[in-house]
């Protein structure tokens, strides 16, 4: 549930970029930060565990201003994708309001996408949340690799694997080039704020 301060009229929205390791979650945040750094007036923070080489998570907070009397603050997080860091992933998911599932469109990553989505479902269940009710979108990342002759899954196949039941908004994207990074972000913010508002009413 989002942090909502009715007195000061502030809504804090937590959005987590989830997905398999090296799928492009951080690249999404890096693109947003690089492109809109001065407009969103924020710093991207990368947190590392102590005495460990592993990245803990990336964090990009920014304000989108006052909308209908409420100041809306967005917090974007990524999780480490590797299988072994599930405890970290679960921790980052605490209090999540919206999710961007970043799937890797490379053909060799098909199984990892499916495993990661399953892992997301399991971790959400530990907070009594599920993919049927939480706002989330799917991004099929690395579509640009087809230009380099790297085998990429067709969107239809990705949809069949990951989105055939819930039919969430999905975006064929290239986080590296910025294709549909912003569209993904806008969509998840809209859906999440709408969902929070519905809960408030």
């Amino acid at each position: 549930m989002a942090f909502i301060n009715l007195k000061s009229k502030i809504i804090q929205v937590k959005i987590v970029y989830y997905g398999p390791g090296r799928g492009g979650k951080t690249t999404n945040l890096e693109y947003i930060y690089r492109k809109f750094h001065q407009r969103i007036k924020s710093e991207m923070v990368t947190v590392k565990t102590h005495g460990d080489r592993t990245l803990f998570f990336d964090f990009l907070p920014f304000d989108i201003g006052v909308i209908n009397g409420y100041q809306i603050k967005i917090q974007l997080y990524t999780v480490p994708g590797q299988v072994k860091y599930n405890a970290t992933r679960r921790l980052v998911l605490r209090g999540v309001d919206g999710i961007v599932f970043v799937a890797d469109a490379m053909a060799v990553r098909r199984e990892k996408n499916i495993q990661s989505l399953k892992n997301l479902q399991e971790n959400l269940a530990s907070y009594k949340k599920n993919l049927q009710t939480i706002p989330w979108v799917i991004q099929y990342n690395k579509m640009d690799l087809v230009e380099q002759g790297i085998p990429i899954m067709a969107v239809e196949l990705l949809e069949h694997d990951l989105n055939r039941q819930l039919k969430r908004p999905s975006f064929a994207a290239s986080a590296l080039k910025g294709t549909n990074v912003v569209a993904t972000l806008k969509k998840i913010i809209s859906l999440t704020v709408a969902s929070i508002r519905k809960e408030l009413l």
Binding site: R22, G65, K186, R197
Partner: protein, 213 residues
């Protein structure tokens, strides 16, 4: 989940605000921090080093080797940079052959060597003495790591022979047969020889670099 509130005032106001904030029709104001990685010849290598820091995958290690090889060609006239790249190449090779058994300090050394190389590359007017000093510091760290690896490899076979053998060596053993002490000894000897050869080559390069600068 709902997309049905598209036409209510809040959604409309929110969409308008998001469109203002994240409009892509004009280039975002450039920031030095954002531009630096793009303009650096090491940008791609940096990305790969960060990837390896995040997760060691065969793809990342292959890209790392390819990128180091490419940069060696670019900087073949600069002996200090060539030595840095040689060290990075050796570290990459070691990580690739050892994978999960890699010494934990390796990543600190890798990041440190890369950071110093980045510093040198991005400071074209750096005095030769400073460059050599930076190189020497990283060489010391690399040698320290090499000593730790050798120490660990010679210490571990006696206690836990099957764990100590590295992945690359293990793949050379018959798939179904046990690891014999002779095989272990041969593997350790090969490794020592490999490190010795690498270090001799690096020492030669450092000497040449020192003479030329």
């Amino acid at each position: 989940m709902a997309d049905s509130s598209n036409f209510d005032p809040l959604s409309t106001a929110l969409d308008r605000r998001l469109n203002e904030l994240f409009r892509e029709d004009e280039p975002a104001p450039a920031t030095p921090a954002a531009e630096k990685p793009k303009s650096s010849p090491l940008a791609e290598l940096k990305k790969i080093v960060l990837s390896i820091d995040w997760e060691i995958t065969p793809e990342a290690l292959d890209s790392f080797s390819d990128q180091v090889r490419l940069l060696k060609g670019v900087y073949q006239g600069d002996k200090v940079i060539a030595v840095f790249l040689q060290v990075l190449g050796s570290l990459g090779q070691y990580i690739k052959s050892s994978r999960s058994k890699v010494h934990p300090s390796t990543f600190n050394v890798l990041n440190s060597v890369f950071a110093r190389l980045d510093e040198i590359v991005s400071t074209p007017k750096m005095p030769p003495a400073t460059r050599r000093k930076l190189l020497q510091a990283e060489m010391d760290a690399y040698q320290g790591l090499r000593a730790k690896i050798t120490q660990r490899r010679t210490a571990e076979p006696a206690a836990k022979p099957t764990v100590a053998i590295d992945t690359a060596v293990r793949t050379q053993a018959p798939a179904s047969g046990p690891v014999t002490p002779e095989m272990l000894a041969r593997a350790v000897a090969e490794l020592k020889e490999f490190i010795r050869t690498e270090m001799n080559a690096l020492r030669q390069l450092v000497k040449v670099a020192a003479r030329r600068e």
